[in-house]
Symmetry: C2
Subunit: 134 residues, 2 copies
DNA sequence: ATGCGTGCAAACGATTTGCAGAGAA
DNA sequence: TTCTCTGCAAATCGTTTGCACGCAT
């Protein structure tokens, strides 16, 4: 008899993608990740990168931000809820936590809404880039 | 002699796009806007919709949010800064204002960042949809 | 009359998917 | 062996662009 269960197998590619994602400090596009892997002697198919990224995102193990035309991914070591402070110039990103998110629920409640999720992205210049444009 | 100046002509399509955008309560994709226009007896080319949307966005007359795979636009009547409370079920959206956004700057400052802009979208269920799923 | 704006369709870039073969369990 | 995962390439999807014509000025 057969067991009906969706299993997830461990493969070289999976680890490679995961590792490359960890190595990349900030957010990277699927394509760029693919380049890094290929260039780094880890021949992983582009489709596989997309599939892994998609899986990881769904599993909540990576953060995703949608930029015009493409999606960027970033390793999310902890499953904790947090937001991002992204440098518009160099793309570097910092994780930031909100002091309190109660006001979100409060405002939503005023409108009769039930909050399911929220997205917050803060864009600006990191210290280094701010210094350059001085 | 000729005058060298980029002029902007008033056309039926421009007005149509602008109007359709105003009528749409929440965020709409370029494609959907095109459908609305076409369906509403305003035969506007899809390319034109994109061009207008792009122009309006650049002129700061519309808000834009990048969602996975597509961009959504929304009329920005006033140049005022505000955020959105979007119903995940029916797509309706409410404008919401933050009680204070100082904490954003404060947190950014802790990381040495200069804040240029920020995006906040809250997703949930509007009163009507919440009632249905009770 | 002049030249910007439009429409159509081809071009594009990012992401997804079908299918046959490779490898994990 | 069995069945998931990978690779490749073709297929999608949203968006952009080249070109010839119409219309606003």
């Amino acid at each position: 008899m057969t067991r009906a269960m969706a299993e997830t197998r461990r493969t070289v590619q999976k680890d490679a993608v995961r590792r490359a994602l960890d190595d990349a400090a900030g957010f990277v596009s699927a394509q760029r990740l693919h380049d890094l892997l290929t260039g780094g002697g880890e021949p992983v198919g582009l489709a596989t990168v997309y599939r892994q990224l998609g899986a990881l995102a769904e599993a909540g193990q990576v953060d995703t931000i949608a930029l015009a035309g493409e999606r960027l991914y970033r390793a999310c070591t902890s499953g904790e809820h947090h937001h991002h402070l992204v440098c518009e110039n160099c793309g570097k990103a910092e994780d930031i936590a909100l002091p309190s998110e109660d006001w979100i629920r409060a405002i939503a409640a005023e409108h009769g809404y039930t909050v399911a999720a929220h997205v917050l992205e803060v864009y600006g210049l990191c210290p280094a880039c701010a210094a350059l444009s001085s």
